[in-house]
Symmetry: C4
Subunit: 232 residues, 4 copies
Amino acid sequence: MTSLEQTCRAELVLANHILARADVLDAFGHVSMRHPERDGHFFMAMSRAPELVEAGDILTYDADATALDADGRAQYIERFIHSEIYRARPDVLAICHHHSPAVMPFSVASVPLVPVYQHGAMIGRHVPLWDSRDDFGDTNMLVTNAMQGASLAQALGPHWMVLMRHHGATVVGTGLRELVFRSVVACKNAEFQYRGMALGPVAGLTEGEIEMAAKVPPAAIDRAWDLWAREG
Amino acid sequence: MTSLEQTCRAELVLANHILARADVLDAFGHVSMRHPERDGHFFMAMSRAPELVEAGDILTYDADATALDADGRAQYIERFIHSEIYRARPDVLAICHHHSPAVMPFSVASVPLVPVYQHGAMIGRHVPLWDSRDDFGDTNMLVTNAMQGASLAQALGPHWMVLMRHHGATVVGTGLRELVFRSVVACKNAEFQYRGMALGPVAGLTEGEIEMAAKVPPAAIDRAWDLWAREG
Amino acid sequence: MTSLEQTCRAELVLANHILARADVLDAFGHVSMRHPERDGHFFMAMSRAPELVEAGDILTYDADATALDADGRAQYIERFIHSEIYRARPDVLAICHHHSPAVMPFSVASVPLVPVYQHGAMIGRHVPLWDSRDDFGDTNMLVTNAMQGASLAQALGPHWMVLMRHHGATVVGTGLRELVFRSVVACKNAEFQYRGMALGPVAGLTEGEIEMAAKVPPAAIDRAWDLWAREG
Amino acid sequence: MTSLEQTCRAELVLANHILARADVLDAFGHVSMRHPERDGHFFMAMSRAPELVEAGDILTYDADATALDADGRAQYIERFIHSEIYRARPDVLAICHHHSPAVMPFSVASVPLVPVYQHGAMIGRHVPLWDSRDDFGDTNMLVTNAMQGASLAQALGPHWMVLMRHHGATVVGTGLRELVFRSVVACKNAEFQYRGMALGPVAGLTEGEIEMAAKVPPAAIDRAWDLWAREG
């Protein structure tokens, strides 16, 4: 294993822990990152609760979501979310799929998320809604094969987050730390929007504000990462 | 005591702790499991807050909710919930009665729970509501005898969860881990439904989706159990 | 100091800690108990955040809320709540005044609390609302003298809890553990009612149910106390 | 460094930790205090998550928000909030800018905050709303220069708190402990108001009540500080 790979795996373990402690992931949901050296490949933990993931649990997946080093260990059923989005979106370097309590109400009521504060701009001007029934009718609500993953990737399109009807959400980023940050602030944004809507109409940021505010500098992301990573 | 009994008791202690930490149980509520070898018998803790239950606190009850080894220790008043449901439902191997903050609003407003996400499908297509007044008029709101337990069991019918008006809920399972999982995800489902309904109309999963999504594989349940049990 | 006094003080310290950890008290609010041997006297901590109260902080007050052993230590300004309710209600042996987040919304919106579940019956059929403006016009919103305390006691009347407009609530009990229990379950009841009302109309328990359910046996109260007191 | 300076810095570190643990600040937001000896100067941490701030992280800023001792360390982009409010308001000795979950819904829905309980009176009779679009059109939603800071200071006027549309809030005080106290109770007030409004119309305190209740004695503020500072 190269030293670059080792660094990636260590960051991915931290990302698992951070997202679990931030109530983005619980016993379920997963986070992945592109392999830095092998085209189309990506890293993701074996099937384990994110908070418990250790360096040795990180598996290497190829572009078809086949694990190269599973050695019989269980895998996340929904790994096709990751493979198909990496295939469709070369700019995406990290992905998180989750069912956070902040976002679930919007998934359950099919109400659009809109950016309502500066960091919330990172969810982008439009958060599409994927309804698995459109292409597949009744399912067990999971993304269990490449066709379903591709359908989700198509719904995501060029955006940064996609709501999944009665299921959860998937968030993408151009780097692991950016993805973790976007995933956490998207939950904050959802919570602020939910409570704001209980008080009155919520207009959201203007298009110009979203465009400018979405450019959160890496230093700000690192400031948050340093806080969130302090417990390892 | 057989080694099988010992294993059951250890699992039941863990179930008590997990359900307390997950805010399903607090100082009140209880969880039981069928005796693996004695027909109609079941295990349940003496009257003690679930979070404090230890192996030595587990009592053996017969089919009439008479403790065989209480040695004068206090017993849960509502033990008839368990005996009567085990009598009516041979398929049920574990039962949890609770007053969780997530579910109580539905009990208080008599609003039906519906599955709103994949794991929530485990509550089933229909969650009946038991109103103690129908058979017993005004009571102290507790299930204190076999007749009341049987009435509740009848309301539960073939379902997996029954709301109890102004009281709480009772959840059943075909195994202890499945029951614990169903109890926890039912609370998540209630929370998502509650918040979803504040955003707009909530349709719930389709019947086909419920049927398929309710079949959560044991590996997924074990993944959650491993996380929840990490503190003993 | 008699051994009975010492026991009382130790219980009162525990009551302070329990109520703080249960989010009934925060940096403010207070809990007192009648002196077991001296007529009209009562015990209450010096002015200190309840979570920090130690045995040496417990002061003895006479019937006019004059501390007999303050030695210059600061006292709660609102001690007249306690002296005047003890004067008006010989059956009351313990009192808690608080501004808990669960109850404050009802105080702020002047919406009546009603019992919505079995333990909630302990708040009684009627929770009166005291509006300090009725007798005193604009004030600093605190109960700072005997006249205001007496006005509050009159509003409480024969009941177990009184809401205070834009201020908080005061709860009374026939014993310290019963008071602590009632204070905690009143907050749970308020939370369940608040969330129930968001789902639909909330009828509350019937009068007959309230009368029967309010008789929570001491063993149940002790079960909760044992859980809540486990951290000292 | 004088001993007075050292005391100030130690208090400011505590203020950072207290505000973070009270959910006023998270990875973002900041708190400052005037330099006790140098006109127009103030202390504020380098760009770091408040919960992690240590004594060595406190920088000295001049009246134009230029750090005198940064030694290349990163600075909060929004430091102009502080410099311009100190310039406009000689009575202000401490400032906190935050995006707390309690206050954000009001910022997001542009709904006025009103005092709804005794400590809440400290937010004052009027909490103005600053909309960055009025003077600057679309921005990245941050206060990144002196002109924007001056605009915010003008919106604040003679008040104690200013809501910032789709951004957060800024709170000021005549001393650091008073500021911390006001910041925390403003969040409590926002939460009580939010939940009260879900129950029914919320009138808020009268003008006379606000005037009297706003005068919280230093002893009460110290009582809370002693609790909040117990973890350092």
